[in-house]
């Protein structure tokens, strides 16, 4: 359980985290979503007592992090992909951490095996790929068999197999009754991983919602359709409140109509439908939510070309 109340952090004149209040509950994977620079990493550092809050409080499993006698037992964290000294082996990195609170040596071998780094555990971490670094970071987070797990962008740099592995690992950890808090700046990534979402932008809380509620209320649903006569279909579908835009692969995306309506319209015009998919556009919902909170933005694509 993570409880954050009125959490505020100011660096100089920049307000990195602005009066955040939320609770992360055990048993589900909670996504922590926001554009780059929204304050996700700062919030996580505040949770771990690495930075001191300007105002407000953050507790993990009922206490401020610093007050736990065996913090690795309570909270496992991955803060950045490359956090091991490049000259040290993964095994020694984990062993040194385990020794701080008397975690047994065999546990080090267990977590190395759990993340699949057996082959390279004795090699220098400096030679690790980004994906291997992430796996080592996850091993670090699992080391103390903690009740709460905090991971900052754990999917960065992983290949498809790695992403699937992390997703199922996170679900298993949550199913065990643990608290799992995972940050990302990509909505689609979170849609497949998290059951609950906390969205922030410019340090402020924008949403604290279940993933299913969010899907249901996603501002605009759209329909992807491919048919035997795209032009005729598009002409037939166009109406006030309906938008038809071509995709790069010859299909079109229709917003403002349901799959039923598109299918019926095609049948009425004698057009054969080859593909018809409803798309809950979470990405768009997220963009809408954070529109005013994006820190860096290119003016427009056109502008960038000039």
């Amino acid at each position: 359980m993570i409880e954050v109340a009125g959490l505020t952090k100011r660096y100089g004149d920049k307000l990195a985290v602005d009066d955040l209040t939320f609770t992360v509950r055990p048993g589900v994977v909670t996504g922590f979503l926001g554009p780059n620079g929204a304050g996700k990493s700062t919030t996580m550092r505040l949770l771990l007592g690495l930075d001191a809050p300007t105002r407000g409080s953050a507790t993990v499993n009922g206490r401020p992090y610093r007050e736990h006698a065996a913090p690795l037992r309570e909270v496992g964290a991955l803060l950045e992909a490359r956090s091991a000294h490049p000259g040290r082996s993964a095994y020694r990195h984990l062993l040194a951490l385990a020794q701080t609170c008397g975690i047994r040596r065999s546990r080090v071998d267990e977590v190395i095996e759990a993340v699949g780094l057996q082959q390279v555990a004795r090699k220098r971490a400096g030679g690790f790929s980004l994906g291997m670094g992430q796996r080592l970071g996850i091993a670090t987070a699992l080391l103390g068999d903690p009740r709460t797990i905090i991971l900052d962008e754990p999917l960065n740099g992983l290949d498809t197999e790695g992403i699937r592995w992390v997703r199922s690992l996170l679900r298993d950890l949550a199913a065990d009754g643990r608290t799992v808090f995972v940050s990302s700046h990509l909505m689609n990534e979170m849609a497949l991983t998290a059951q609950h979402l906390i969205v922030i932008g410019r340090g402020r809380l924008l949403a604290d919602t279940g993933m299913e509620e969010l899907m249901a209320s996603a501002a605009r649903t759209s329909v992807r359709v491919r048919s035997s006569d795209q032009d005729a279909l598009a002409a037939r579908l166009r109406a006030p409140g309906v938008e038809v835009s071509p995709d790069s692969d010859g299909a079109v995306t229709v917003s403002g109509l349901s799959t039923d309506e598109v299918g019926t319209a095609a049948a009425a015009a004698g057009i054969t439908v080859l593909e018809l998919t409803a798309q809950a556009s979470l990405e768009e919902a997220f963009m809408e939510m954070t529109r005013d909170a994006v820190e860096f933005r290119a003016p427009t694509t056109e502008g960038a070309k000039q």
Binding site: G49, L50, L72, G87, H93, Q99, T100, C101, T140
Partner: protein
């Protein structure tokens, strides 16, 4: 066996000891320091044998100092290693993992200091002794040698190792205080060399009065059998040097507690 999973100062020392010996750069720096102590002592002793002092100057010839001439150079290697043990963690981001495991923070600094000082002493006591013995066996060819039994000689040999460990801790403290390798190494070299230069610009009476209190002249007093008359006594001087080191470590501890990681 069941054991309570909790952070203790002794466990943090063990952890820091694991970290210290698992970096190839530590081994290289310490091997360099040992090689400098022994190698330079032997080289300089050989040089002095091929060009022995005039008969009139034999009385002021200091065979212990000749054989331990590499200590001041080795101090640079040990001091820089002390810096890197801390700044390396900041540069690689390991410090956040370390401090998340030990949120009280100060045990990390003390653990590093204990592990590093013990390692340096364990290597530098034999190194200084070897440098002395090798040097004397070379100087014996011209009957310029001395023995550990002579007054102050054993103290100078042991003192050389103590001085090296203290310089290492000075580097460690500066690393923890400044967090950047370049800044902390510059500060280390500045503290070791600059005061003597600055004092050299002062009128003779002032410079003679203050010279003995500067870090290196104070700390190095313990490494020599016949200290310079304007320096402090061997243990007084070394004590003062340890006080300087303690002040730097104290400031580092205060910053470590106070600042965001």
């Amino acid at each position: 066996m069941t054991r309570t999973i909790r952070v203790t100062p002794l466990r943090v020392v063990r952890s820091e000891w694991t970290k210290l010996r698992s970096l190839p750069s530590t081994a290289w720096s310490l091997a360099t320091a040992v090689a400098l102590v022994v190698g330079f002592g032997a080289l300089y002793s050989t040089l002095r044998v091929t060009r022995p002092p005039e008969p009139a100057a034999v009385a002021s010839f200091d065979p212990t100092a000749v054989s331990l001439v590499g200590v001041q150079l080795a101090a640079l290697a040990v001091g820089v290693l002390g810096v890197l043990l801390v700044t390396g963690e900041y540069a690689s981001g390991t410090i956040r993992t370390t401090l998340a495991a030990v949120p009280a923070r100060l045990p990390v600094l003390w653990g590093k200091a204990v592990a590093f000082a013990a390692t340096t002493l364990a290597l530098c006591v034999p190194a200084a002794l070897a440098a002395f013995l090798v040097g004397q066996s070379i100087l014996a060819r011209e009957r310029l040698d001395t023995t550990l039994g002579q007054p102050g000689t054993a103290r100078a040999v042991l003192g050389s190792a103590l001085y090296l460990a203290a310089v290492g801790l000075l580097g460690l403290g500066l690393g923890a205080l400044l967090r950047s390798s370049a800044g902390a190494i510059a500060a280390l070299f500045g503290l070791l060399f600059a005061p003597q230069i600055v004092v050299g610009f002062l009128p003779a009476s002032w410079s003679d009065a203050s010279y003995g209190y500067l870090p290196v002249p104070a700390g190095a007093a313990v490494t020599s059998v016949r200290p310079d008359p304007i320096t402090l006594g061997p243990w007084t001087g070394f004590g003062l040097f340890c006080l300087y080191v303690a002040v730097v470590l104290g400031l580092a501890a205060w910053q470590l507690r106070r600042r965001d990681a």
